[in-house]
């Protein structure tokens, strides 16, 4: 179902006209109200009136997470505090958290976009939503909550934690929609199993809307098979809005529609900053064009994606972004090629003989970069023939070469020998002496 037919299916030309008008207004406003932007635009030698077409967007400087930290907590707010009605913050795993403020209109926009996202996943006012995203400074819980109420669905604000109680609530209240992180959905399934509760037999959940962490097609398959539901990918980040920036439609489940009447997406080469054409993989950059509290110009999300313009069978005209497979933070340059560990991971995920635990070792031998990927075999040995294991190594090498365009050596290692860390695993060892 399409929540806002007028905007979501608007012809591209009309949509782009709206985008340009809103972009010009935003640039004008931030230049005049946020000293940080005025200084940056002046340094780049660009003035608001220079933005004459959408193509001029690339003349504007980028904004980074570091800029938000440097202006901690409220330095990038574009309105006086009296107009801010809500404050959220991202967890600061490294350094200070990033803080965002919403005006009343921002909350209304966010609620509508989340309502659109829920509708795209096939949710209607007749549904009951089990919202297991955390409520608090994190945007997930309240974002989904307001969207659900705007749509008119019933929402259970269960938040995170106390998994056993969640299963009991799902059994008794019979929610039809589950919203949480993809990994938590599998955890819910495991705990349900332990309690003797079968998702397919005993619960009424038919669709899950999962986000806030990278996942894969293979994980989607696993969730859909185990829970017996449709699993939909949703995207958002607190700096830009929270959940509801983009969502998959249940009709195609092939890329996430970005709500372009509120955001302008670009894909750039994270090294050079150059804007890449449609279809190419790089870093997603977002510009907010309606936000009042904290508008962001060309915000570097650090998320790896690609943009697709092809029409979608759901009827939405908004571009689709590829499922986010990783972050640019750990990007490597090997023999001049940008290599993202997440790309290697997605190749490994396609081979069931290996576990998704790996380490990438880059070294330089005789002035040539060499890449080695060590990957754990699964815990149960599937073949005792050396030849077959070597064939597996060659097969993975070939797939990596096809995906990344560079050759590497794959080495099988024993399970549980690659270091685990609860947070972001240390996936890359760079031994090069440059």
């Amino acid at each position: 179902m399409i929540y806002n037919d007028e905007y979501e299916t608007m012809p591209r030309e009309a949509l782009e006209a709206i985008q340009l008008r809103r972009l010009q207004q935003t640039v004008e406003r931030v230049y005049n109200t946020v000293p940080f932007y005025r200084k940056k635009f002046d340094e780049a030698g660009v003035r608001p009136e220079d933005i004459k077409s959408l193509d001029d967007l690339k003349r504007l400087p980028f904004t980074t997470k570091q800029d938000l930290r440097d202006n901690y907590p409220f330095g990038l707010f574009a309105v006086p505090m009296s107009q801010i009605v809500r404050i959220h913050a991202s967890s600061g795993t490294t350094g200070k958290p990033t803080v965002v403020g919403y005006t009343r209109r921002d909350i209304k926009t966010w609620s509508e976009l989340m309502a659109r996202a829920l509708a795209a996943a096939g949710v209607s006012q007749n549904d009951i939503i089990h919202n297991a995203y955390g409520y608090g400074l994190f945007t997930g819980g309240l974002g989904v909550h307001y969207g659900a109420e705007t749509l008119g669905a019933s929402v259970i604000p269960v938040s995170g934690g106390n998994t056993k109680r969640q299963i009991t609530i799902m059994k008794d209240f019979r929610p039809t929609v589950l919203t949480c992180t993809p990994s938590y959905s599998l955890h819910l399934w495991e705990v349900a199993q332990e309690m003797g509760v079968d998702f397919k037999r005993d619960l009424a959940i038919r669709v899950g809307i999962f986000g806030a962490e990278p996942w894969s097609e293979r994980m989607r398959q696993e969730i859909e098979d185990k829970l017996g539901i449709d699993a939909i990918d949703i995207y958002g980040l607190s700096e830009v809005l929270g959940p509801g920036v983009a969502v998959e439609c249940i009709e195609a489940k092939d890329g996430l529609h970005i709500f372009e009447d509120h955001f302008i997406p670009e894909i750039i080469d994270p090294e050079t900053g150059e804007v890449l054409p449609y279809g190419e993989t790089g870093e997603l950059v977002l510009t907010t064009i309606t936000k009042e509290g904290i508008p962001l110009i060309r915000y570097r999300t650090r998320d790896i994606s690609a943009l697709y313009k092809e029409p979608c069978k759901c009827g939405r005209t908004m571009v689709r972004m590829a499922r986010v497979t990783g972050r640019t933070d750990d990007m490597l340059i090997v023999r001049g090629v940008n290599v993202f560990p997440s790309q290697i991971e997605s190749v490994l995920m396609q081979h069931e003989e290996v576990a998704p635990h790996y380490v990438i070792i880059v070294d330089r031998q005789k002035a040539l970069d060499v890449l080695e990927v060590q990957v754990e075999v699964t815990e149960r040995l599937f073949s005792d023939e050396v030849r077959k294991l070597q064939e597996l190594e060659r097969r993975i090498e070939k797939d990596i070469k096809e995906t990344l365009g560079i050759s590497c050596k794959v080495k099988l290692v024993e399970p549980k020998t690659i270091e685990r860390s609860m947070g972001k695993a240390k996936r890359v060892i760079d031994k090069r002496q440059i």
Binding site: S383, D384, E393
Partner: protein, 143 residues
């Protein structure tokens, strides 16, 4: 007539093989036959033990990557050309041997050789018809 063999994936790291034998020894499991196939990166250790289920369990509990494979044990007459005759029978029937290794037997008439063959049932059939002694698992584990 089949014998269950345990296969273990091992990285080529110092002491890894010793850890396998130590694990089995502390569980009171005897190794009856053993073979190691390796490359520069990793190896596969193949074992016949006196208590397969227990060995499989303790190895897995100790973090080893373990698999089970069916092989056959064949008694080879202790005379020149004994093994060649058996290989000949299999070759004539187009039965491919993936690998083979010998049994550690203290005394007796002949050697016992373990064969890994994809068409196991056909191989047993062919060998038996040609008068070759294929030993049952229960007998092999207790040898």
């Amino acid at each position: 007539m089949k014998v269950i063999q345990i296969s273990i994936f091992l990285e080529n790291r110092a002491g890894r093989l010793a850890e396998v034998t130590k694990t089995l020894a502390s569980a009171n499991i005897n190794i009856r036959a053993l073979s190691l196939a390796d490359t520069s990166d990793f190896g596969i250790l193949r074992l016949i033990v006196d208590d397969t289920e227990k060995a499989f369990k303790v190895l897995r509990e100790n973090g080893f990557t373990v698999g089970k494979t069916e092989v056959i044990a064949v008694e080879v007459p202790d005379r020149p050309g004994g093994l060649a005759a058996i290989m000949d029978i299999l070759a004539k029937e187009n039965i491919n041997v993936e690998y083979m290794y010998a049994f550690v037997q203290q005394s007796g008439k002949g050697a016992v050789i373990l064969f890994r063959i994809n068409e196991l049932d056909r191989a047993i059939d062919v060998l038996t018809k040609n008068g070759v002694a294929v030993l049952p698992g229960e007998k092999v584990y207790k040898l």
